[in-house]
């Protein structure tokens, strides 16, 4: 087990190195001069040259890449091109916290709504209620953010005047409600459907039949034999939902005016703020790899049948 974790952790720097190399190369050969973006209207050749010198932009590719990697190893991702004089890590830290709060709110909502729906659908399997839940969540899963967000705005902002139409005020502000719901809806569908399927799978296993045959009360069978075994996919969903969350950040944060990492990434892309893009890409890639590792390790605790060596 320890050897497995070490082997997986050794893989992390390899992935990050590959990801950083691809991102760096794309950024290096991309046209569109960050210096011109920075100086804007006031561009004059001498000043541009001086700035290039200062930022080290006129050095050869490999030298710049190695320099980037060495600095990144000590946690220094350089300064933002757009916000001059501010280290990338400082700029990103605040944004990450905003996105983490939004993501947590979305995930919590998804589980809070998804788990009761799953239990209902699995218990009433084959009834109209089951059909309704499965159908509704399927619809919610495939409707894009572009539709759900304006619909919620129409209903709760324009018609009912209950909620504000944009902005950010932290976890305990009414402005988080709409984006968190929009973020939760696709996850809700995945949770309900996946859990329903896995419950039905477990329901017909021999050990459940044995538990019933030896006369255990139905509630004990459900709680101790069915639900416990059906929970495993929930853990997988948690790991997978990270990818969906990050994609949601780009669109939802931009649409709703939330100062998070997604809106930041989109903004950096347009201003060709490469130090920011590099840092954000590496951060997301690292969290993907770590999340997958945590999911795999978690399995061994949730299901003692799973062993890695």
């Amino acid at each position: 087990m320890t050897r497995y974790i070490i082997r997986r952790l050794l893989w992390l720097p390899v992935v990050l190195l590959a990801v950083s190399f691809i991102t760096f190369t794309l950024g290096y050969y991309a046209p569109g001069d960050p210096v011109e973006v920075m100086l804007g209207q006031r561009v004059n050749p001498a000043a541009a040259e001086r700035l290039r010198e200062e930022l080290g932009l006129n050095r050869p590719f490999l030298e710049r890449y190695i320099d980037f990697v060495l600095r990144a190893l000590s946690g220094d991702f350089g300064e933002s091109y757009k916000y001059r004089g501010q280290p990338v890590t400082d700029l990103i830290a605040d944004k990450v916290w905003v996105s983490v709060q939004l993501g947590l709110a979305g995930l919590t909502l998804a589980f809070a709504m998804g788990i009761p729906l799953w239990i209902l659908a699995a218990l009433k399997q084959g009834s109209w209620l089951d059909d309704l839940i499965v159908g509704t969540t399927l619809v919610l899963n495939s409707i894009p953010v572009f539709f759900t967000l304006p619909m919620l705005l129409l209903i709760f902002v324009r018609t009912l005047h209950w909620l504000p139409s944009s902005g950010w005020g932290g976890l305990f502000d009414s402005r988080i409600i709409i984006p968190a719901v929009v973020m939760a809806l696709p996850g809700l569908a995945v949770i309900t459907r996946q859990m329903r399927a896995s419950t039905l799978d477990v329901l017909y296993q021999d050990y459940v039949r044995v538990a019933r045959a030896k006369g255990l009360p139905e509630s004990t069978v459900m709680v101790r034999h069915v639900v416990r075994n059906a929970l495993l996919p929930l853990w997988t969903i948690l790991g997978l939902s990270l990818g969906g969350l990050v994609e949601g950040f780009f669109v939802i944060e931009t649409l709703y005016g939330i100062p998070g990492i997604g809106a930041m990434a989109v903004d950096s892309m347009f201003t060709r703020d490469y130090p920011m893009i590099m840092a954000i890409t590496l951060l997301v890639a690292a969290s993907f790899v770590l999340a997958n590792l945590l999911v795999d390790i978690g399995y061994t605790f949730l299901d003692p049948r799973i062993r890695y060596d």
């Binding site: 990801v19 324009r158 994609e247 892309m269």
Partner: protein, 323 residues
């Protein structure tokens, strides 16, 4: 298809009347047909894609034709879905947007599936270092935040690519190509297919791994079939069902991805029509003229939903355990 014998159980046994063979496709279709929503979804998708492909003949107006006297109209007989800020007919713009969505999604998914199937089949069948190399590459691409990567590729490669074509278009005999905006489509589906293949490769690899030690494959090898013959005639046809489901879901994702890219302004550029640009242009209209925003958004939603229904029904219909 070519390999019915391996797929259908209807092989006559000595002494019995030959059972009429039912091909995989016939069985699947008869099971698929029972799901009414999936059939409705299929019909909707066919209508949208056909409308898109035949847009120049189907659309009632030119998608660029402006009429400021008739701006922001609600639906009417003259303009069935109303008009936008500039008095352009929404239905026509949706139909032309369907053309973009159809072209991009079909090409992106075919290319991504091609890479994925070839690499996944090689990886699963050959094993060894080829397998390690391909799967590690897939792992790395998986670690990339997908959408961010597509945005990044589209934003960084496009200007250089367009510039390159502009320099060489005379030599290729394709004058005006760089300015036509068609290259936007190439960049978008190129980027999408590049990000899309690892999932497909893993799927196909898993299928091939579970198939390659089965008796009919071993028998084919023992009879002297070449690697290529085994892969093409025995492994791929049997690995096909989950691939088809993934393709159906993938088309929906590709449509959404194109919408996101165009919405961000790095996909298909105006005046070329796209549902994404329509959503972006009307993003502020939800308060005053919500239908301007909801029409394109609902179209994207319905297309996605239809692909989901089709994929789901296909999954059930192709699943041998449920047969």
């Amino acid at each position: 298809m070519t390999d019915r014998a391996a797929l259908s159980p209807g092989v006559p046994v000595a002494g019995e009347a030959p059972v009429k063979g039912r091909s995989l496709w016939r069985v699947t279709w008869s099971r698929f047909r029972r799901r009414k929503v999936a059939v409705a979804g299929l019909v909707f998708i066919l209508v949208v894609y056909a409308a898109g492909i035949f847009a120049p003949w189907v659309a009632p107006y030119d998608y660029r034709a402006q009429n400021l006297d008739k701006a922001r109209q609600p639906p009417s007989w003259e303009h069935p879905l109303g008009t936008d800020e500039l008095g352009r007919d929404i239905l026509s713009r949706l139909i032309w947007g369907a053309r973009t969505a159809a072209v991009v999604s079909i090409l992106a998914v075919s290319l991504g599936t091609l890479y994925g199937v070839v690499l996944g089949a090689l990886s699963g069948y050959l094993g060894g270092w080829v397998d390690s190399l391909i799967m590690r590459l897939a792992d790395i691409l998986f670690a990339f935040p997908g959408m961010l990567f597509v945005i990044f590729i589209a934003a960084t490669i496009k200007p250089g690519f367009v510039g390159f074509v502009a320099q060489h278009e005379a030599a290729l005999g394709l004058e005006g190509l760089a300015r036509s905006g068609y290259l936007d489509y190439v960049v978008v589906f190129g980027a999408l297919s590049f990000v899309g293949w690892p999932g497909m490769a893993r799927l196909v690899r898993g299928q091939v791994l579970s198939l390659k030690n089965q008796e009919f494959v071993v028998a084919a090898q023992a009879l002297g079939a070449s690697t290529w013959q085994v892969v093409r005639r025995h492994l791929l046809p049997n690995a096909l069902p989950p691939v088809l489901v993934a393709v159906s879901m993938g088309l929906g994702h590709a449509v959404t991805a194109e919408v996101v890219l165009s919405w961000l302004g790095i996909g298909v550029q105006p005046p070329n029509p796209s549902w994404g640009t329509m959503i972006w242009e009307n993003r502020m209209q939800w308060r005053i003229n919500p239908h301007l925003l909801l029409m394109p958004a609902a179209t994207v939603g319905l297309v996605n939903l239809s692909f989901q229904f089709i994929g789901d029904a296909l999954n059930d219909a192709l699943n041998p355990r449920g047969r």
